[in-house]
Subunit: 425 residues, 4 copies
């Protein structure tokens, strides 16, 4: 099967959709990508530890969890060579093609899925047409199955084109936990990159619309705070307890009470909390999984400092300890005007594109920004492109789906940009 | 096997220890009790729905959970007749022996275990001697295995004695969630009871010590509060969320802030809380599992009223709804002096008893109080007796254990009291 | 004394500076303004109730407070006719000159001072040069003394110019509590206005700089929330209290915890709180004086709705009542481009102006926005102009001062704009 | 005027009632006491610094406040010699009579009034009969005017009796703020005391009832916590503020959330709080005036430790500082059975006594406990006696009043006890 036809692309995307894997557990997905890369034929292929800077992964699950998914991927038919290279949660790949003298262009696509149960009624296309998630409780609810497919499609197209230079596709794991961007940015594979492209489907833009440059990425940090107190029998010895749930509750209130900042938008959310074991025991432990965001990286840092202070203070108020660590992180970023122009220009000639939005704000976070910033810091350019797709449900919901004609539009647009870049000054 | 020897009693207790079952899931335990009762030979035997008032069980798990334990009991060899009678979480039994004219005396023992993993090192006798819990994550960590054994031992002894009158033993489920007392109290089996005895081993009293009358039961209610708000993307649409975790945190603070009462001791604990799903979603739901207690039932009611107000107000503060329901409850109670005297008197002549404490406070809660109050309200008397046992770890901890010689002391003392009561005026 | 010379203007400003009066208590100030207006000679003069819409004043102090300042103004030599017209806190004036056919142009200046003690060391020019505030604890710390002077200076200049049309100057009270703008906007005096100008000195712009159009006014509401509970002796009867301080504390946390909004900047501040009477009494009452703001009026309304909910919920959580009322309010607004252009154009030719900033954001609130919105809603145009003044201390601090050469720049610029508007299409 | 007649005692009490002075400001009251003591004739008289241990006064107001009351007392006719000795808030006196060999007996009475406006309607006896408080906002609302009168009456009676030994009356200032007891206890005047008596009128006991021994004093500490943050403009620079009101609100919640203690009753109250200056300024400062209590001194210390932790933690949570100091304090205490018996015995023979309560609990706090503990620690005995008085309004309310016949009962009972003690073994 090659990826030259719409049918082949759709089949690949549906295949990926059927087997969603969350952050750092994309063992089967990486194997599937490597299969396609071998079919296309690339000049260089890096897998697992070869594409992730040492010690920079964030939000990695524990070994037991990793091992269970690794084994599940094996049972589902993943390749042993890829399983060996990705063991321990070192997922992802980088493919390189070299075609003479010219610039180095890179494309980043993200490959992970979400812990979200997929809708199963007939209104939902994947359910109706038989490619609904086969991994219960997990789903490609943000279109990374389409991203992966588009990345492979572009690679094939560029390889067959007159493109002169080096072209890399980075298949990045763990975007949903903003945990993979930093490790891939600092892996060395971006050191020589002149132009970096990234993309996202949907974002409330319909099929046929292209956003030439997306900005307004909120810098983000994900935090885990573990509170430890001392247990006590709630009836017989209430005074013996140092109550981790009281500390957590005070911390929740303090986090949401961090002052707004006059320099721009900030965000905070204690999205997941828990504590204690039984009604009659003073809770000894509690935890908060939170995030802070900022319109700029500085604003995010402001939120982070205040959050640290709030967590430490709240713990002390109730005689508890708190251990806070960052488990995910992404800076802010901006698309370079030069590339935005190029994307808009190329998209104008793509079949099926009927609307071009010059720039739009994401209003959320993305760790592609680590890669964009890395390239920009070294004098290169970066651009994040939106490929509209008419999606029935919102991103991250059970009824999200990709409108498949948008896959071809994504490939045509970005492959066109890559080719054009080789002939630019 | 009869229960006349120390060895037989120890063997039975260890058997029960090996198969701990938590509240309303005592399927195998009930079956095991029925086995023994048949061996002893009783005049009447009631099981399951026959010993629980309709609609009065509290804290019953959902059907899926009940079915899983029911099936597990079957696989472990529970009797089909008992399984049929206890299906749906109707556990427990009442055994009756009738020996001529005389008073009706009842003994209540509780039979459920706890969700606590048992210690597995050699310092822990059950581990060393091979009768550690075989149900992972559950444990007889409060001595109800000994209570059940003592109850059966007394029954056998009374049957063989000159006791004149009616003697009943109530094997009560779900004490640990204060969920079974009310249903058994109102089952009808107590309507004709003149004297009710209940007992507990340990409570920081060493082997050889007997507490003739325990008082100071704190009335208690267990509450579940479910907060419901509205989700929202924490980065893109924070204003759309109605944050159930904020509501829960405010409720935790309000609960612990309920004023003390000048009439006596009160307690409150939000012992188990959780909320939200992911760091980037404004939490749509959260829950608190709490308890309130009072030195008297009125004080507990005061705490309950204020807790309801606090939960409702906190939800409203953050635009959320809250659904609060009581899942366990027990009143306060006092041991009758007449019975306390009798116990002290009899214990003085029991082999192995070297210290008699007239009265002591429990400082905790127990739903035996429902049964005590029921009997006292109808003109009968009730007494809660402490049988010392030197326990290495505290109650409800992984290293709790019963010092087995205390089993005989418990039987000798309480069987003695039962016999004496038949000859009292 | 006329207002043609720099010295005369400076003398007037210093006179006003010496006698600062806060919101709705500008009795002496209004009298002083009327003196000058009579000297200049105006065609129409409205005072007190004649310039304020019925029932629309906000943040008016109580009668005792008003009477004390009224009497103090009398003692300081205020005119009896003005005192009669302003009694009860109806301060402010509107002056009108009519010079043939042409547009109706209005200028709004604010006249109130602040409850701020003025610096008294020699570094502070008013102290050194002998015109420091003579009303202890009050101060013109925001330059409204200069605004009033500039307003009078422009009126005189326009009267002597070739201006054709109607020109009104609105001397508005109670800007600092955002309490006077609405009443003056709806007084009828703006119904025929084609062009409205307003101004502010300073705002961190140095002398010689003019901001042609100020935007970014945050809409604001000032709230007072009074919590009422029930007292109780903290030692003897803690359970009898319904604690208004607990309710207030929970409300403070809920207010600061109102979620950010993705549509733009919001603000909240519980700037002044108090509660209770003595350490041994459960607090029966407490209060919060708070404000909410929004980048748009809608955003402010969002904050207001959530604040109401938070206050009501927090009171209910602790069995208290809360009475919330709005005591000050101002919408957002934008300067019209057409007028901004005109101001920039005229300022370019003014002596002493060396820098023109086209547009800048206020980042704070101002109830001139009520007047701007009123004119714009009826098809007119409005513009808020910044007149730079090098001020040593920040606005609202003890060492704020106006650099007096900026007074002439303000008059030249805005009088120039008024004259030009009469000849525009 | 001597104090032998009911009329004379009533006249003295009404005189004191007319001139209430609060803690450490009892200048006129001390002068009035010294007048009476000179009339009675005592062997030794100590005033001011002579009766207060250095550095042990608590809750002393600032110098300006002290000076104002000092001057007011002078204007009201206080003696210059007493004013000289009490300057700086060193109020109170100790009178001694020596009549041969025998035990040293001491009586402590408290002399201060409360910041409470007195009722002025005709239902209130002091208003109707013309001896209502002449110091607006202050009132003898706890009967210390009667205590002082009773103390003087007993002194006169003992002097004229056959009492053999030494008798001291300690007129203690600042009981209402639990600020004077420690300083007087450690002044040296108690070092040789064998028997200490103290008394209180009312406490919900009617005229004719005597409580022979009062116990159940809650140990108490009064705390002031001053929070300091950093101001900021709430609209323009919210991020610059470190919000002292947020810290205070979190501290209030943490204080009320201090866990109950299984050893006995505890109390906490944030009875007076305030913070901030204006709605548009992030609050830079805030304060809490709180108290903690315990059934024992240890329980009070437990509350104090947790309160300190809560205050410090809450400040840190919001980047603020907190300065906490104790401004009043009293331990717990118990009346000695030997003295209780004696009081009960003597009261049985007193005219007008129709009911004797052996022991009752105060349920509140009193710094007489410092003196009781001091004497008991040195081998002496102490007893706190209740003299019933039918009071229309509750203690500390505007309509509290003493039923004057109870004054004679108090004198007869306690003078009788003093006399009897000289003849006891």
């Amino acid at each position: 099967m090659s990826l030259t036809s719409h049918d082949a692309l759709v089949a690949l995307r549906r295949d990926l959709h059927r087997y969603p894997e969350p952050a750092w557990r994309e063992f089967h997905t990486t194997s599937r990508i490597v299969d396609e890369l071998e079919r296309i034929g690339v000049d260089d292929l890096f897998i697992g530890r070869e594409v992730l800077a040492d010690g920079e992964r964030m939000g990695v699950p524990d070994n037991e969890e990793l091992a269970a998914w690794h084994e599940r991927a094996r049972e589902a038919g993943a390749r042993e060579d890829v399983l060996a290279k990705t063991e321990g949660g070192y997922t992802g790949a980088v493919a390189v093609i070299e075609q003479g003298e010219g610039p180095t262009v890179a494309l980043r696509v993200d490959i992970d899925a979400l812990p979200q149960r997929e809708a199963d009624d007939d209104d939902h296309v994947p359910a109706r047409e038989g490619f609904r998630s086969e991994v219960d409780g997990y789903m490609h609810a943000c279109g990374h199955d389409a991203h992966t497919t588009i990345g492979l499609g572009i690679l094939r197209r560029v390889k067959e084109s007159d493109f002169q230079g080096t072209f890399k596709v980075l298949f990045q794991p763990a975007e949903e936990v903003v945990g993979g961007g930093k490790a891939m940015a600092e892996s060395g594979h971006l050191d020589d990159v002149d132009h970096l492209l990234a993309l996202h489907v949907g974002l409330d833009h319909p099929t046929g619309e292209v956003v030439a440059g997306i900005d307004g990425f909120l810098a983000v940090s994900h935090l885990h705070a573990e509170f430890t107190g001392h247990p006590g029998h709630a009836g017989a010895r209430p005074e013996e307890g140092r109550n981790a749930v009281q500390a957590m509750a005070a911390a929740v209130q303090a986090l949401y009470g961090i002052p707004r900042h006059s320099d721009g938008a900030t965000r905070v959310n204690a999205g997941r909390v828990e504590g204690g074991t039984a009604t009659n025991i003073i809770p000894e432990s509690a935890r908060i999984e939170a995030e802070v965001r900022g319109e700029t990286t500085d604003l995010k840092e402001y939120m982070l400092e205040r959050a640290d202070e709030a967590l430490a203070g709240a713990a002390a108020t109730y005689g508890c300890e708190v251990d806070t660590h960052i488990v995910g992180d992404a800076p802010s970023a901006t698309s370079d005007e030069k590339l935005v122009e190029r994307v808009a220009d190329v998209a104008g000639g793509v079949d099926g594109v009927d609307s071009i939005v010059r720039r739009d704000d994401l209003g959320g976070s993305e760790d592609a920004t680590y890669l964009m910033q890395y390239v920009q810091d070294r004098g290169g350019r970066a651009c994040y492109v939106g490929i509209g797709t008419s999606h029935p449900g919102g991103h991250h919901t059970a009824t999200f789906d990709v409108d498949e004609p948008s896959i071809a539009i994504g490939i045509d647009t970005l492959a066109g940009v890559v080719e054009r870049l080789s002939t630019d000054s």
